[in-house]
């Protein structure tokens, strides 16, 4: 190769370091860009009028996104109700009950679930879930219920894989000790393994929340996007993400800034969720 070996090695090391740092750069650029576009409106109309404002009519000077913040949390909670229980059961089965062969088959299948594009989930929601709800439960079908169901399925892989890891990291000695004391398999799982993996499971729920609150395409397709805070499970709603995606195409001036302000609020919420999740994961590994 001509060059001495060591200098080539150092060169590669520096190159890789540069690439590793570039991801930080992108994060910084995204932050700077969203803040630069979104903050001026906060200054202009006041953060209270945006965050707690009830009326969204950006072309007429109303920039309130409070209903969307509430709606975002509502569907996220709904998704957790459907998704978290199912995912936890699935992870528990995988780590405690499934044989090696079942595990080898089920794990990749679940990971495939994560690879399905969100527009496909949305499409299935529009074609099957929405008409079923409209037909049998009433309302327009586009609702918290349909959105929560779709999001609940979408967050399964996230919750399953992280809580699976948490359950697997519980030392085998815990299980053996419990069984040796005469506890049944289920008593061991319920009283010993699950509590021992608690912080990891909670972290998986939080990351699942982050996934649900950030989902856009599927939500636009099944939520109905009405601006009112929903008062029943069958009412349509609009989340923070879908607000941005719905209106960006035509937005100019203050309207456009208002969408970036929506992005700032979303960014803060997601950062907070990730911080909390990281905190829990750290607590677990530290123990």
């Amino acid at each position: 190769m001509g060059k001495p070996h060591s200098s080539r090695e150092t060169g590669i090391k520096w190159l890789l370091t540069l690439f590793a740092l570039s991801s930080l750069l992108f994060l910084f650029v995204i932050f700077a860009f969203i803040l630069a576009e979104g903050l001026p409106l906060f200054v202009k109309v006041g953060p209270g009028h945006i965050i707690f404002g009830m009326k969204w009519a950006p072309t007429k000077g109303h920039f309130g996104i409070f209903p969307m913040i509430v709606s975002s949390f509502m569907v996220t909670f709904g998704a957790l109700v459907f998704g978290a229980s199912l995912a936890l059961a699935c992870a528990t089965y995988l780590s405690e009950y499934a044989g090696r062969k079942t595990k080898l088959f089920l794990k990749p299948a679940l990971e495939l679930l994560a690879g399905i594009p969100s527009v496909v989930y949305g499409f299935l929601g529009v074609v099957y879930i929405v008409p079923l709800i409209r037909e049998y439960l009433g309302g327009p079908g586009f609702s918290i219920l349909s959105t929560s169901l779709v999001l609940g399925i979408m967050i399964l892989p996230t919750i399953i894989s992280i809580s699976f890891d948490a359950l697997m990291s519980v030392p085998a000695g815990y299980r053996e000790g419990s069984l040796a004391m005469g506890a049944t398999k289920w008593q061991t799982v319920y009283r010993v393994v699950l509590p021992a993996a608690r912080s990891g499971i909670l972290a998986s729920f939080i990351l699942g929340m982050g996934r649900a609150i950030g989902e856009t395409m599927a939500v636009i397709m099944v939520a109905g996007n009405a601006l009112k805070i929903p008062t029943s499970l069958l009412d349509p709603l609009r989340t923070l993400t879908s607000n941005i995606a719905l209106e960006l195409a035509y937005a100019t001036g203050d309207h456009r800034s208002a969408l970036f302000s929506t992005g700032v609020v979303l960014l803060v919420i997601i950062m907070f969720l990730n911080l909390v999740a990281n905190f829990w994961v750290k607590k677990r590994t530290a123990r």
Binding site: A57, T59, P140, F142, L227, K228, Y250, T252
Partner: protein
């Protein structure tokens, strides 16, 4: 690899620039037409035909929305702006040419037996005053009204022509394109929506408003009320190339292309 990263950075910065509304300077020998996304597909079609006849004058068609198109025309960053809404305030200084008319049809599901509504009833449905089909003489079922997102030209025209000073209720569902509204109304027996007449098909049923069904005939004789003009805008009188394109659009050949797309042709210029 380093080059790849550099390329990506260039791409990213280009995206940043274009999202800031940077349309690029007007270069010589090229017409840039930008604005309303409602008019854009038709302008693209017209441009294709125009460039067959005058290959020396390339026409670059871009979207951005009516407001962006108007702003870009004022700034001089585009040759011709497109707007599917009327001009307001200082925008009125622009030279506006009506290239055709587009009717906004009120549509319901084909299963819905209602054939006729008054403008006032449509307004009451969207303001939330009428919320059940029973109030209009059908079954006891809530109306699922569908509107377009704030900022859309079609919504702007609907607000001007039907809603007047009344606000569209917050409980009304929102979809982000004519096609999406048609899809929802076509699937939901209890839905109502409004879409451009050009894209009405057998999946939805048009409703007569104040006794008049939307059609090319009723739009032309002005008996159907919910009609908006599609405008081309220039800052001052158009240059020779822009004039050639506008003349082509207003010629019988251009107008035939537009009417084949379900739009209502105009004859001659008008100011708006």
């Amino acid at each position: 690899m380093g080059q790849k990263l550099f390329g990506f950075l260039v791409l990213a910065s280009l995206m940043v620039c274009s999202s800031c509304g940077f349309f690029g300077p007007t270069s010589h020998g090229k017409i840039i037409v930008a604005g309303s996304t409602s008019i854009m597909p038709f302008t693209e079609k017209l441009a294709e035909h125009f460039m067959v006849e005058k290959p020396e004058t390339p026409v670059d068609v871009q979207g951005g929305g009516s407001s962006a198109g108007i702003q870009a025309t004022i700034n001089g960053t585009v040759t011709i702006g497109m707007s599917s809404r009327g001009l307001k305030g200082n925008e009125k200084g622009l030279n506006a040419i009506v290239i055709c008319y587009d009717a906004i049809a009120i549509v319901v599901n084909p299963k819905n037996p209602i054939v006729d509504l008054t403008t006032e009833q449509v307004r009451d449905i969207y303001s939330g005053k009428i919320s059940n089909w029973k109030q209009l003489g059908w079954i006891d079922r809530n109306i699922s009204a569908v509107t377009r997102e704030d900022g859309s030209g079609t919504r702007g025209a609907f607000e001007d022509l039907v809603m007047g000073k009344t606000f569209i209720d917050d409980a009304v569902m929102v979809q982000d394109s004519n096609g999406a509204v048609r899809e929802v109304v076509g699937n939901d027996p209890y839905a109502i929506g409004y879409i451009s007449l050009g894209i009405v098909d057998s999946r939805v049923k048009t409703i007569a408003v104040d006794g008049m069904s939307p059609s090319i005939k009723t739009v032309r004789d002005k008996s159907y009320g919910i009609v908006r003009p599609f405008l081309y805008l220039t800052s001052g009188s158009p240059g020779p190339q822009a004039q050639a394109f506008i003349s082509f659009v207003l010629s019988s050949q251009g107008q035939t292309i537009l009417s084949k797309e379900g739009l209502v042709p105009v004859n001659g210029q008008a100011s708006f």
